[in-house]
Symmetry: C2
Amino acid sequence: MKNAMPTMKDVAQEAGVALGTVSKVFNGIPVGESYRIKVEEAARKLGYQVNQYARGLKTNKTNTVAVILPGVNHPFFAALAQHICEALARRDYRMLLYVTASNPEIEQNCVNMVRQNKADGIIGLTYNPLAVDEDLPFVGIDRSFRADIPCVAADNYGGGRLAAEKLLELGCTHLAFLRTGSSSPSETDKRGDGFEAVCRTRQIPCEVLRRNDGEDGPEVFREFLLAHMAEGKLDIDGIFCSTDLLAWRIQNILAELGLRVPEDVQIIGFDGIRRFGGEELYCSTIIQPAEKMAETCVDLLLAKDRSNIPALVCLPVSYAPGGTTRE
Amino acid sequence: MKNAMPTMKDVAQEAGVALGTVSKVFNGIPVGESYRIKVEEAARKLGYQVNQYARGLKTNKTNTVAVILPGVNHPFFAALAQHICEALARRDYRMLLYVTASNPEIEQNCVNMVRQNKADGIIGLTYNPLAVDEDLPFVGIDRSFRADIPCVAADNYGGGRLAAEKLLELGCTHLAFLRTGSSSPSETDKRGDGFEAVCRTRQIPCEVLRRNDGEDGPEVFREFLLAHMAEGKLDIDGIFCSTDLLAWRIQNILAELGLRVPEDVQIIGFDGIRRFGGEELYCSTIIQPAEKMAETCVDLLLAKDRSNIPALVCLPVSYAPGGTTRE
DNA sequence: GCCTCCTGGTGAAATGTTTCATATACAAGG
DNA sequence: CCTTGTATATGAAACATTTCACCAGGAGGC
């Protein structure tokens, strides 16, 4: 039974009122009590549902936000996606999710598609700088696009500092910073900056290895570690990894090399992802406040007053031991 | 600069052609070479993008599919979401994602909202039976809604059988089946059915404990296991868990009770989720073909010919050892 | 040279809303 | 009883598309 879906006109007729009156009822504009009741009854009877497409055409508002993420298979991205979706739902918005596999072409393509789909705004975590539209509200995660586009990020710099301070507090005397990531600059680069800054100030030796995706095979890190070994011992005793995933991979390499964590070398990661099915961390880590980040993105994007939104919002991180440090 | 976005009318004027001609060009309807070029040039010059909302209003097609999932924080759901999104993108469709926390009210609400948003169809993995619309294409995952709504699922029955056969092949003589899940019937219930069927046929003792979400605290399982222990030994030597997550929790309880896996008891889970950052499984398990399931959902939903779609599609599962069995 | 046919461009109508200028009804004041 | 003012319902216009009946122009046949 393909009964054409009822329209406002049908409701108006059924209720014996004018079209405009029906519109008012569904937009919460005050209307005579008796009229409201008549309309509501007619709508219920016909099973009327507003057509958001017609509404969007008229108002240029769609109550839809596009979210662009590299993927949703990574626990941190998954948490972001979930929290953003929930925060949007609370405000009666829906989420149009695009996944890009961090492919620059696809990323740009998504931005273009969003323009067609008339989302009310975009929240984007992308690995590449993008051409984003002038008059489409945009909030970046971990990346600044333009002065007038806000960026939400964890306090990466502070997190890097915190990692260094923790390792030193735990007795380390020779540190290393290892990172992977995109070659294009991002807020997450500050993790290393903060870490190195502490080492510099405190005059602690700090080895650094920065790799970009695509050139970050395990052998690179193994070589780095081997170069710092003599007689089966590592001269480094504290490692800060730019992500928990990298920390995990480093642990595997260290195990192969016959080194023990945290006895021989302590490791701190970044992200705070949990093992599935519990609260257990993969490693000692700097925790990013995923929920708070999601909430902030949504707040900024949907802010009524877009005149004075900050260019960058840094949210506080925290340290949590996860078995790869000695405490 | 809030330059109103250019419309087809603007393009038509710029190109010096009629409105209908512009429409044809953007819909791939053949049009004179010279006209096509004029239109394409004008569109490029003005930065024209079709307005999908106006188009949707006219055609009742939106190239958008709504996906309803309990959440995206579970590796299996995340994999589904990602694969569905990619499969849709390949067909030039976008994904509107709703997360429900498996709350029946929210689930129903999502279905209603989709009607408003005029998605072209719904792919839904829900924990509760829903009232779904007559004329909105729907594909269920793991759940049959109505005879005319297709359901895509892994071969749960076959997976259950496979688990039993594997455990027996590995020398078990006294089995158990543990499950959690929703109380409302679902395809996933067949996991236990298949498992028990093998035990029955082969006359193997099989203990069964079925719990529903909300009544599946760890103490329930601990008690069950304690009831089967005597002098620090378990009389059960092979356990099939309805999910990998449950298998993981059972492992923890067994460890607390001083039992070793797989020496004292072997365990097989269901799902095939991987530890983050690698291919490592959480346990020996029956693997669900997430990508194939996603692809199938999309195929069924967007099938041109909706006259003879199957009521149920069962996709083959496979067994993989993951350290909780002796092989 | 004229008529017919056919190809393909044209522009008005229609889609389901919101908005706004207009109309109506009713109350109060003279 | 008439006037004025206020409050509120009305319905036409507009939004950006697609579609379709119509029309123009060129080709081919007699």
